[in-house]
Amino acid sequence: MAVEHKIVLKDVAKTFGSNTVLDGVNLEIEKGESMAIIGQSGSGKSVTLKCILGLVKPDRGAIWIDGEDVATMSQRELERTRAKFGMLFQGSALFDSLPIWRNVTFALTQGRARDPVKMKKIAAENLERVGLDSKILNLRPSELSGGMQKRVALARAIAPRPEIIFFDEPTTGLDPIRADVINDLIVELVDDLGVTALTITHDMASARKIAHRVAMLYQGKIIWRGPRDRLYDSGNPYVDQFVQGRAEGPIR
């Protein structure tokens, strides 16, 4: 047991109404590892992330972060644990009422408008890291293109230097070239900052590029996991059908 588990999910289940989304998910993510979860739309990938973040309470099972059980935490401990996370949302989820620099430094000031000079400097540094010019500091999110919004959201997620970053469909809605720019950024962040990354995606090119290991979620369970090189010869008919995008196969 030399490896250090950053996140452990054991038998996590969640049902909304009559719809069982997660049905006993088991997953371990090591420190400094980049893991991708692939699966169809609606297979419970986002719910898995939200369970780990404590935004959704699982019906069953346990989640450990750095060896601590999330379920037994008080509100205060939960807030401290959440400070370890950063997240890139699928739709960027930038605060449209705030300028870019306040978006990027939101976690640092907990939403307060303080130290504008210092905060703008920090915002500019983080924007530079994702390849954006500091000219956009005072713009509003709606004034940027979708690809730029995604990069601002990435800058916002890394600004407080989280230990773990979640990426929710980081390349969805972007053209292939911009998608690859985001992929490069994610690889760079994992390598440079040493963060633990968990990405959910149905973009195979992206999964193969950014992840060390890949797990497939199907009908609320992890049905396969392995190194990214094995993704195309997994020997699992479900994974084969999914990665090759065939309509015919065991998945209907």
Partner: protein
Amino acid sequence: MTTIFDAIIRFLASLGRLLIGALAAIGRVATFGGTTVARMVRPPYYPGRVFEQLLQMGWFSLPVVGMTAIFSGAALAQQIYTAGSRFNATSTVPAVVVLGMVRELGPVLVGLMVAGRVSSAMAAELGTMRVTEQLDAMTTLRTDPYRYLIAPRLIAGLIAVPLLVLIANAIGIFGGYFVAVYKLDFNAVGYLNTTRLYLTATDLQMALVKSAFFGFFIALMGCYHGFRAQGGAAGVGRATTDAVVSAFVMILLSNMIITLMAFG
């Protein structure tokens, strides 16, 4: 026989479901309000956000509240005059205007106008933030939406609506005065003297207590429905409607309860 029993049982079951649904909703709102209060006593505090909301709820509501009050006061004076003239009681105009305005019309009309303006805006704003995952994003950015978004709105509601009601009362009384003196030939000094005579501290206190409740419910309904919105644009639309309707109901219901308790 069995079919009649079945029908009765089905009827009772549907009544029960309705009751349970209503109780569950009350429980959810109470939990939401309780969570906010429990979180806002611990830092970080957001005085700047409270000020923003005070401006939004209070200052920007002044035109619509002022108009509502002056029109209602003026119409009230004319109505009392017409009704009073049938039994020689036109002299009751200033007394009825001041009592009606301070005790009932001021708080309720201001409450309803602000609810229409503010509950809807809050539900739409928070609902949009919910469906675009901005609320989840905020949580991952070390900021508690209850403290950052909800608490300032509840505090602003508690402060802004009573202040608006005080102003509306003054404007409404002035509206009545205007009609009485310039249209109905009342003596200006006499009118004001009677007004002062019937304007009591107890009534004003009651108006403030009522309007503090109204302000709280306006903000609570806007926030609660916005926070729970789901299902894209249509969901935000539903949340907005629900916020306004439930704020109206809460205002009228609590007004009745407080009035019956105070004068019963």
